[in-house]
């Protein structure tokens, strides 16, 4: 097994392997990339981890133009917020990757990251919520369910597969809601199983008060989840409560949870942002947020436990940097990059029944939009095109789509749509080539056929 130290040495040796890569090229050609590692085959049991970069991230700060024709307009648009080339890892073609994305530059140099700058849609919305809905739906299909929810509709067993789609957020995002199936939300590994929290010392059990009859409670509640609503009752609310209650009930009773119905505790093999001894701090010296790291740790724990999750979902908020961007963006990037890198490294230590976890996982990161090219007084307002990326050993690293022309913006000062970087092409690529859907199924799920990217 490669240790973290060995891995870092290998990464350092990789250096600037991607110099010479053109911004519009597919991932196949790695100019001068002798140390770039070829993608591994798509595994027999692939896992997708979706990371939502929530709030609309300023990817012009994440991947700024450093020396291309875009640099001059970039500097004019960003007089105070521009990122110096020296603060980036060169990706070639006059584009750099912000060094605050801790460790992602190294993985990019190894060919583990497919970048898709300029990704978006023809019907951009500058509303967070409309844009998020559009990204979630992945199609203008009436009913407004999500592309991964529709995937669950066709791929998951009609009743069963209750732990195949898991979000570790406390909500259930639209992206994960299908017509008949949805994901299960498990935001915390401790005491997930009803009614384990009624046991132990949590409930009064002294004197004349015996412990409550937890089996009776569980059975009594379970009965209510499967008995049809009485006539005259509100169908929508009653059925939603039944369906969601049953999703929890079934998930926690799934044999995958093991004999004691709990996820085994797990100590991560690496440090994550948020850990007290994580080496990189916030700009002000404080501890980085563990908000994303903790979610990814939980996913790693689930994978290590043998949970049959095929698709996981996590979220990092805070990117709506209308103000104070110079202070906030570096911290946000360190949390994003550092957490993803830690997770990637951590997976290496996990052996599953279907192989090493690092070989099985692909991370897909997206945001609802990028931000306005021209800064306001200390921040940036809502924009259009974004930067999505896929990270994993099965990924053919490099640049896909095209870096937008910052000298040719729309009437609102935002980036223009590029049909070659439509967000549904990303979904189609993932559905076909990672989640194993037939081409026709993918096209049906997305409502049309979209060109596939070459990173898988």
């Amino acid at each position: 097994m490669t240790t973290r130290r060995e891995f870092l040495q290998a990464s350092a040796a990789a250096g600037t392997a991607l110099v010479g890569l053109t911004a519009c090229s597919g991932g196949g050609s790695k100019g001068g990339g002798s140390t770039t590692e070829p993608p591994t085959p798509v595994p027999s049991a692939p896992i997708l981890v979706v990371v939502n970069i929530d709030g609309g991230y300023d990817w012009l700060s994440v991947m700024p133009p450093t020396s291309s024709a875009n640099r001059a307009p970039y500097e004019a648009l960003r007089p105070t917020l521009k990122i110096d080339a020296a603060a980036t890892t060169d990706l070639g073609s006059g584009v750099g990757l912000n060094a605050d994305l801790l460790g992602l530059g190294e993985l990019s140099s190894l060919g583990r990251v497919a970048w898709i700058p300029g990704i978006g849609m023809s019907n951009f919305s500058l509303s967070h919520f409309t844009a998020q809905d559009l990204w979630s739906q992945g199609a203008n299909i009436p009913g407004g369910n999500g592309w991964l929810g529709r995937f669950a509709d066709v791929a998951f067993a009609p009743s069963g597969d209750v732990l195949r789609g898991i979000t570790v957020t406390s909500d259930l995002p639209l992206m994960l809601r299908g017509a008949t199936r949805g994901f299960v939300s498990i935001s915390n590994s401790s005491g997930f199983v009803f009614p384990s929290y009624l046991r132990g010392n949590k409930v009064v059990s002294t004197g004349a008060h015996p412990l409550y009859d937890t089996a009776l409670l569980e059975n009594g509640w379970g009965t209510s989840l499967t008995t049809p609503a009485p006539t005259g009752s509100s169908q929508s609310g009653y059925q939603a409560a039944q369906a969601m209650g049953k999703a929890f009930y079934d998930a926690q009773n799934d044999p995958a949870f093991g004999t004691n119905n709990q996820l085994p505790a797990r100590t991560p093999s690496v440090l994550y942002p948020g850990d007290s001894t994580y080496p990189t701090t916030r700009v002000d010296g404080g501890r980085l947020s563990g908000s994303l790291g903790n979610q990814l740790k939980l996913i790693a724990q689930m994978i290590a436990s043998g949970l049959p999750g095929q698709v996981y979902y996590a979220r990092l908020g805070g990117w709506d940097t209308h103000s104070n961007q110079a202070n906030d963006i570096p911290n946000l990037q360190r949390v994003l990059g550092g957490s993803l890198r830690a997770f990637y490294d951590d997976l290496k230590s996990i052996t599953t029944a279907s192989g090493n976890a690092q070989d099985r996982v692909m991370i897909l990161a997206y945001s609802e939009f990028g931000r306005r090219c021209k800064e306001n007084d200390g921040g940036t307002d809502h924009g259009t095109a974004g930067l999505a990326f896929a990270l994993g050993k099965g990924v053919k690293g490099g640049m896909y789509g095209a870096y937008p022309n910052l000298a040719d913006l729309d009437a609102n000062g935002n980036m223009k749509y590029n049909a070659a970087a439509d967000f549904r092409s990303l979904y189609a690529t993932v559905l076909d080539r990672w989640l194993g859907q037939a081409t026709t199924t993918t096209n049906t799920l997305l409502g049309a056929s979209y060109p596939r990217f070459g990173f898988l």
């Binding site: 009594g220 209510s224 609503a229």
Partner: protein
């Protein structure tokens, strides 16, 4: 056509429906008292938050004020937990002498989310005037502002008080007041919106005030309108009276404002006894952010929603306020429709007929956007009391928790009489993280769009945590929390999360399992529960019926089942 004609009489069931929606529920006994009163006058008084003498509750208001002021919080915090390293970090411990919630005035420096949530939860539970709390909760979902970014709980609670006291005014006045609120200014970056000279305005607030607070997304405005309104509202900020700067006694560099005053930064001098929002004393430095026409090249006239406004003239209003208020006149029907939908979704039915929204928006416009008149009309109407509008909404988690606490917990007087600890819920350790895990992190929404209501409250995680909260509410659950004693060790304290006495639930001792069930249903007021489910529960709990201590614990188990079952999520 929604029938907005007022009801002429009502029953205890009607009263309970009204009180669930326009408050946090009433007991069957209270409902019977109110049902004996004429509905129109009683509903008017309820909405006003005035306690009618005929309801015999005048004493509650005085007691509520006294308890809230100095003996409401059952847990406290140490001066500062050095081991955490964060000023104001909570050390939860049961203390002999309960005290007020440490969040405002001289305690503003603590800036603690759980304390702020607890303060409001306690108010929702015990304020004899329920409606102002319900109204504030409704507006908090609409004008959703988050402590995480505002980072000043006292200012957050000042905003909630604004919603409580001005939430029935004309909507234009409310919209203007919220737009000037310091917490909102911080939340959506009005404080950095600078359009002086040729500056690029920060359009965050201008966008959301139309998208989220008055019209709905893309409903009658475009991107140009956003940038124009941003220009009109540039410089809208606040100053802090020197006396309101509350310094952390353990860390003098760390301070919070206990209050702040709306000010437009237009180059005027600020008195030496005030601070600019960033904390700079107002002694000489002048902030110039709102165009006044005296600097070359800047725009003082804007075109917004098809009309032109001079944004330097006040005319009794703040500079630029004329443009803000014009939303209600330039886009009256869009605004009224937007508001009507939000009101219906929260108070009446998440699946209202489209025509119902149109009808209510006509009521709003007919009343000149007067919220008091509109809501009173709605609450008194045949439409509101229609059978199809009962138990049709999934109740939000905060309301759901508070309502159960009101039914199962001790009365204000009884809780206050307990010693050494008060018999009130330990809200400080309940609200966080469980409100969040149930899907409503009160005072700290993830975004300015608040929370989706009705069925969107439910997913497997929130259902899990509803069972978690129901266990706390019904089963006399205790919880041990640890705090740093300052001497290098930790001390554990055990709290009962929701103190309750089963005997209080049953004024008349039950003589059968069905008796127990019927009484608990009357208290908790779930939607219809299938008879087979009811019978199965009763048979499992009481193969033979007794009413001794173990069987009173079974009543707790039954309450738990009623709260957790699908019908228990409806109201």
């Amino acid at each position: 056509m929604a029938d907005f004609a007022p009801i002429s009489s009502w029953t205890a069931d009607d009263v309970m429906h009204f009180a669930r929606r326009a408050g946090f529920g009433v007991t069957p006994e209270r409902a019977a008292e109110l049902a004996a009163l004429p509905p129109a006058a009683t509903i008017d008084a309820w909405v006003e938050g005035t306690v009618s003498a005929t309801v015999a509750a005048a004493g509650d208001a005085a007691l509520f004020g006294a308890v809230l002021g100095n003996r409401a919080d059952t847990v406290t915090e140490g001066a500062w937990d050095a081991s955490v390293g964060v000023a104001g970090a909570v050390n939860v411990a049961k203390v002999p002498a309960p005290h007020a919630f440490l969040v405002s005035g001289a305690e503003a420096w603590r800036n603690n989310l759980a304390a702020g949530q607890s303060y409001w939860a306690f108010r929702m539970q015990y304020n004899p005037a329920s409606f102002p709390e319900r109204l504030a909760l409704f507006w908090h979902n609409l004008f959703a502002t988050g402590w995480d970014k505002v980072n000043n709980m006292a200012l957050m609670l000042n905003q909630i008080e604004l919603l409580r006291t001005q939430g029935l005014s004309g909507f234009a006045d409310l919209l203007a007041a919220v737009s000037k609120d310091p917490a909102m200014s911080l939340w959506l970056d009005s404080v950095t919106n600078n359009a002086s000279y040729s500056g690029t305005p920060n359009e965050n607030y201008a966008r959301e005030v139309m998208e989220l607070y008055s019209l709905g997304v893309d409903n009658g405005y475009n991107q140009t309108d956003i940038t124009q309104l941003a220009r009109a509202l540039s410089g809208w900020s606040f100053v802090i009276p020197t006396s309101a700067k509350v310094v952390n006694p353990s860390n003098p560099g760390n301070w919070k404002a206990s209050t702040a005053t709306f000010t437009v930064y237009q180059g005027q001098p600020i008195g030496a006894n005030h601070l600019w929002w960033g904390g700079t004393p107002g002694n000489g430095k002048v902030y110039y952010m709102h165009p006044d026409g005296t600097h070359g090249g800047e725009t003082t006239s804007i075109s917004f929603l098809g009309n032109t406004f001079n944004i330097t003239t006040a005319g009794g209003l703040a500079p630029g306020e004329n443009a803000l208020r014009s939303i209600l006149t330039s886009r009256a029907s869009n605004c009224a429709n937007f508001l009507a939908k939000r009101i219906l979704t929260h108070f009446v039915n998440g699946h209202y007929a489209p025509g119902d929204a149109t009808d209510l928006s006509n009521v709003l416009q007919g009343n000149g956007f007067d919220l008091r008149a509109t809501l009173k009309t709605l609450f008194k109407s045949n439409y509101f009391f229609d059978a199809s509008n009962r138990f049709c909404l999934v109740e939000g988690p905060v309301s759901w928790t508070v309502r159960a606490a009101r039914m199962l917990g001790m009365s204000l007087a009884a809780g206050d009489a307990q010693a050494p600890a008060k018999g009130f819920p330990a809200w400080r350790v309940i609200t966080s993280p469980y409100f969040d895990q149930m899907g409503m992190k009160l005072l700290d929404p993830g975004g300015p769009n608040g929370w989706h209501e009705d069925t969107a409250w439910l997913n497997s995680n929130t259902m899990r945590y509803r069972t978690r909260m129901a266990a706390a509410l019904c089963l006399a659950e205790s919880y041990t929390t640890y705090y740093h004693n300052g001497g290098g060790s930790y001390v554990g304290e055990t709290l009962v999360l929701f103190p309750s006495n089963v005997d209080d639930w049953f004024p008349v001792a039950p003589t059968s399992g069905l008796d127990v069930y019927n009484r608990l249903v009357a208290l908790l007021q779930p939607g219809p529960i299938p008879a087979t489910v009811r019978d199965g529960w009763i048979a499992a709990l009481w193969p033979s019926f007794l009413w001794d201590t173990p069987n009173k614990d079974k009543a707790r188990e039954l309450a738990f089942l009623i709260l957790c079952c699908p019908a228990g999520q409806l109201y």
